[in-house]
Amino acid sequence: MQKVKIKVAKLLIFSLGLFLLTYPFTSSQAEEAYRIGAIFAVTGPAAWLGDPEKKAVELMVQRINRQGGLLGKRVKVVIYDTYGDPQAAVLKARELITRDRVMAILGPSRTPTSAAVMKALQLDREENRFQVPLVSCAAGRILTKPVKPWVFTTPQTNALAAERIVSYLSEKGIRRVGIIYVSNEFGEDGYESLKGSAAKHRITIVGVETYGGKDRDMTAQLTKLATKGPQAIINWSVGPTSVIVTRNFKELGLDKKGILLVMSHGQGNIKYVQLCGKAAEGVILPAGKILVAEDLPNADPQKRVLLSFKEAYESAYHEPVSHFAAHAYDALMLVVNAIKRGKVRPGDGKGLKEALEQYCRGFVGADGVFNYTPQDHNGLSVQDLVMLKVKKGRFILIH
């Protein structure tokens, strides 16, 4: 008799433990509101992407609700952290849909996490079980080329940024270019895009080098590239590694050898300039207009939008607004715009998807003027990127 008692005790402990751990998550009753979910890499190796994105969305939802909400109803946003891990992104996306009953998901921040969510929830198929559109803040081509029915993206894709750089360089008569990129999804996609654009503009790539996300010294790779006689070196990376490349470039005195250092739109963040200190002087990069909002000509429709967002963000968080915050801002505002103009009812994911495809033409966002169509779920063009130069610690508009 005693033995049986233990068996039962063990069974109970095991099932109870499992159930208790999961029980507290049952969702609160969903009252009448527009429920929008968001998953960003708030912590972990890609925290510099997710953190500003989360802040931007929280800020704008507060403002919308303060100004009477959307079509008279409150906007409720649920934000989870994926720490940049694809498995966690899939789990959190599923949780947003099945438990929090959201009608749209903003994010994730990185291409692999976005691709994992797209595949797991079958968002690349027209008919899928969940009928919830994903508005990703990642720039990878896998999300938009060819178009995925339920996936939209807001950042300027690597292809656009690469095209902007290469066309600018060829305009300046630069024919020989070296490329160095970080061996992650952003770097690889950037390299592929640069190869495509360079071929189109008949620019020869004299050398290619890579480095790891955690590497802290790239003098070897830069020296090797310099020996190939490039007129410009393009670095494609995000985060601290780009600071190291910029510093090493200066230490090696490559700028004195007349080599131009070009960064990717991943460096669209004043913190990058602050971290590099004097080493960033003279570096050029493509970026969204948000970084030079004040210098934009008044006729530019984006100026008003950018200035109000920039002012709101910087007064709320006391840190300079970045490119990545702009991606999340656009993701939210595109959804809000589609709901408002398409009169989409709360919870109608399919209605929202169609509204995004119809009512987001010529929509003035922070990253540019969006033209979503059923065939193009990125909707941006090369004109949405401007060329900037770092001068005395600030970005100035040069093209």
């Binding site: 005693q2 033995k3 069974l11 912590t43 694809p86 599923r94 690889e188």
Partner: protein
């Protein structure tokens, strides 16, 4: 022996009843990923818990299973079962090739060597872009289906995963209670004594190493064919560390430690994501507290509770 079969029966019953009880697909998916973690941790429990050989590189074998099976179905369009078997054989072969020299090492040195192996495999997943899709990841991995029965809903896949976990536990229980299992425990406590009893210590260590690598690869295959998109960082050094933490928290001295530790570490992040920025720190604190207050892990705790009720010697 009989006790373990009863526990396995308890697990099977729990797994059959649980998915329908869970309120939404999200929980089923958490349970599914927990099953995959438990399967990989079970292999490590046999290797480290029973045979005493530490490995800090098993995420590499987990990744091999995922990438080989994934690439075969994505690039060459192989049927899933064939790709899976090929992945298991390839992983077993590499594990044997690599295990033979490294298993001569002991303690820290073995831990360092396996750590190095895991990182080398990770770097291969990133650099062999033609096959693995590099850091941008590999997509287009075909979902699992037997004939026309598609395992594409979380619930069906959860049953698939946990049925494999139950079979793996059945295999492990038999193994642990067989002469082979005793030989593994013997060489754990004294390799010299074991060899003088006729146990080919080097071969036994290699076989259990390959077995644990195959379990890891099987976990990788199940992961790849569910999520149908994989990228290198899932198979990095941190997962190898998580695996060891799972068996230590669960209780290294018993295969059931892999079940409890694996499930616990899979549920912990889900329970903590309310804490946002605090999550990382709380995660570390919980690990430390369990280590300090539960020397033999959860299984040890349950055994102690059992002893109190049972009043065993």
């Amino acid at each position: 022996m009989k006790r373990d079969y009863l526990l396995l029966l308890t697990l099977t019953v729990t797994i059959l009843l649980l998915p329908p009880l869970l309120p939404g697909d999200y929980y089923v998916e958490v349970l599914l990923f927990a099953g995959i973690n438990v399967l990989v941790a079970l292999g490590l429990s046999l290797l480290t818990g029973y045979a005493g050989q530490i490995s800090l590189g098993h995420a590499g074998f987990y990744g091999m299973g995922a990438y080989i099976s994934g690439a075969l179905t994505a690039h060459l369009g192989w049927p899933v079962p064939l790709a899976a078997i090929t992945a298991l054989l390839a992983t077993a072969f590499v594990a044997a090739l690599v295990g033979w020299p490294t298993l001569r090492l002991k303690g820290h040195y073995l831990a360092m060597a396996t750590l190095g192996l895991g990182i080398i495999l990770y770097i291969l997943f990133v650099q062999l872009r033609g096959i693995t899709g590099g850091a941008s990841g590999l997509s287009g991995i075909r979902p699992v289906h037997l004939g026309d029965l598609y395992f594409d809903t979380p619930r069906r896949y959860c049953y698939l995963v946990w049925s494999i976990v139950v079979l793996a536990f059945l295999f492990s229980i038999n193994l642990v209670h067989s002469r082979t299992g005793m030989a593994l425990r013997a060489l754990h406590y004294s390799e010299v004594a074991a060899s003088t009893l006729g146990i080919d210590v080097a071969m036994y260590k290699l076989k259990v190493f390959v077995l644990s690598a195959v379990f890891a690869a099987l976990g990788g295959i199940l992961y790849a064919h569910y999520i149908t998109f994989i990228s290198p960082e899932t198979f990095g050094f941190m997962y190898s560390v998580d695996l060891v933490v799972m068996i230590v928290l669960g209780g290294m001295h018993s295969i059931w430690g892999a079940l409890l530790g694996g499930t616990f570490l899979s549920l912990l992040p889900e329970a903590l994501h309310r804490l946002e920025d605090l999550e990382v720190m709380v995660h570390g604190l919980i690990l430390l507290l369990v280590l300090i207050f539960l020397p033999k892990g959860f299984v040890g705790l349950i055994e102690k509770v059992g002893e109190k009720i049972h009043g065993a010697p």
